[in-house]
């Protein structure tokens, strides 16, 4: 069996693991590190459920080799807030933007990344940024609303 040692940072914590070269990041996160907030659905890049942040930018963990993140920094949904809920999470709850919750981790990470790049996005910009994330419960209206509300709050805070 072909294996390699990798050292990477997950949610601020250094981890050293021995992984198979063909192991996918999603399975290392879920099975080895018990970070099950990252979801598997399509496995081929179409749905966004497996989104994580690599060096702060969204990527798909179902199409990333675990060996490929050696030396890098990963943030999963579990790591976006140190204490309690992040404002985006709160807004999702308040706006009923969560139904079954399967798409939610990916949606929230995308929303966080969007708001970092563009603190006051228009509805079109939100829709475009989230277009790779599928919600089977079709809660899109509420999801867009939740992100929009965050954007506005974001601005009032400043």
């Amino acid at each position: 069996m072909k294996k390699a040692e990798i050292e990477f940072t997950v949610n601020g914590k250094k981890r050293t693991l021995f992984v198979k070269t063909n192991e996918l990041l999603i399975n290392v996160l879920r099975n080895d590190l018990n970070l099950t907030g990252t979801k598997y659905a399509c496995g081929i890049g179409e749905c966004g459920a497996c989104t994580v942040l690599l060096e702060g930018r969204p990527v798909l963990s179902c199409l990333t080799l675990a060996v490929d993140v050696n030396g890098k920094n990963i943030t999963t949904i579990e790591g976006i807030s140190k204490d309690g809920f992040d404002p985006v999470q709160k807004s999702f709850l308040k706006n009923a933007a969560v139904q079954c919750g399967f798409c939610t981790p990916g949606m929230i990470l995308m929303a966080k990344s969007l708001l970092k790049e563009n603190p006051n996005p228009t509805e079109d910009e939100i829709r475009d940024y989230l277009r790779g994330n599928i919600c089977r419960c079709t809660g899109y209206t509420q999801i867009i609303k939740a992100v929009k509300e965050c954007a506005n709050n974001h601005n009032q805070d400043k």
Binding site: C42, G43, R57, L60, V67
Partner: protein
């Protein structure tokens, strides 16, 4: 065939060169050993999961800083092989000057895939529907291919030879992309039809033209997803060249373009639909490039 997209069942040796020389050495050593280059992995890993592609070696080139850049000067736009699609899309020059390339990238997949994927991967994967190919062909861009012994430059138009096929040899790496400086009074555009936004193209088109004294001095019209590779419709270009953009000329250009393409019927669309919609797309894309070229 059974597919399991949750895991990669097939095992391979994993190599991570840190310099270009190291990568070229590895390619030389493993050229007959079923090695695959890994950039963003958004085509490669999907294929390993779904169509039984089983490389024995994977050479991850992403850590090679020498080929991670995007620069613009008198010499044109230069893009390294591991520069992500998102990095290209964020370049001010690309947005301001290379409209067709900008629009093509914006139309691709979604943010996460564009954070991972590269133009080099899009070209080397050689799908007839590859969205970056038509604009690059329209601009007369070329790719630089290197092996242990040297390098060569190949126009993108000649690089792609069929579905999944290019002129690259198994010991070569596509290291960078060169796009020429665009002359004044030029404009470009890209359009694509998919089932939904962000979909793989049923058909796509890029137009690049030069407009002077209200006449089209030169033009390139390139279609994707209508033949084995993206193709120029040279007969249509000939009709447009030297003419003013009247609706009469535009209709003739559109008719000719529709005759020249060789689409097939596949899961995404029918040949008949592609022939028809091609006319509409040529008219729209030429108009858009014409407006952008100003005068």
């Amino acid at each position: 065939m059974q597919t399991d997209t949750k895991i990669l069942a097939h095992e391979f040796e994993y190599l991570t060169p840190n310099t270009l020389n190291e990568a070229l050495d590895m390619l030389d050593r493993y050229q007959d050993k079923n090695a695959k280059i890994l950039a963003g992995g958004t085509d490669l890993l999907v294929k390993m999961k779904t169509i039984n592609l089983k490389p024995d070696y994977i050479i991850n080139i992403k850590n090679i800083q020498e080929i991670n850049f995007i620069t613009y000067n008198d010499d044109g736009l230069k893009i390294g092989a591991v520069t992500s699609l998102s990095q290209v899309e964020k370049s001010k020059e690309v947005k301001a000057k290379y409209s067709a390339l900008y629009e093509a990238i914006k139309s691709m997949a979604a943010i996460a895939v564009r954070n991972m994927g590269t133009i080099a991967g899009n070209l080397c994967n050689a799908s007839p529907a590859a969205d970056t190919a038509p604009p690059l062909i329209a601009y007369g861009a070329e790719v630089k291919l290197a092996n242990k012994r040297g390098e060569r430059a190949v126009p993108v138009e000649e690089f792609l030879t069929g579905p999944g096929k290019t002129v690259i040899s198994s010991n070569e790496l596509l290291t960078q992309l060169n796009i020429p400086v665009l002359d004044e009074n030029t404009g470009s555009s890209f359009l694509k039809i998919g089932r939904v936004k962000a979909d793989i193209a049923k058909i796509n088109i890029a137009v690049y033209l030069e407009r002077k004294n209200n006449v089209c001095k030169s033009c390139k019209i390139v279609f994707g997803s209508v033949a084995k590779t993206p193709i120029r419709v040279k007969g249509a270009e000939d009709i447009l060249r030297g003419q003013q953009l009247t609706s009469d000329v535009l209709t003739k250009v559109a008719e000719k373009a529709s005759e020249e393409i060789k689409p097939i019927t596949d899961i995404r669309s029918t040949a008949e639909y592609r022939h028809e919609i091609a006319k509409v797309m040529v008219e729209k894309a030429v108009n858009l490039a014409w407006e952008r070229a100003g005068d």
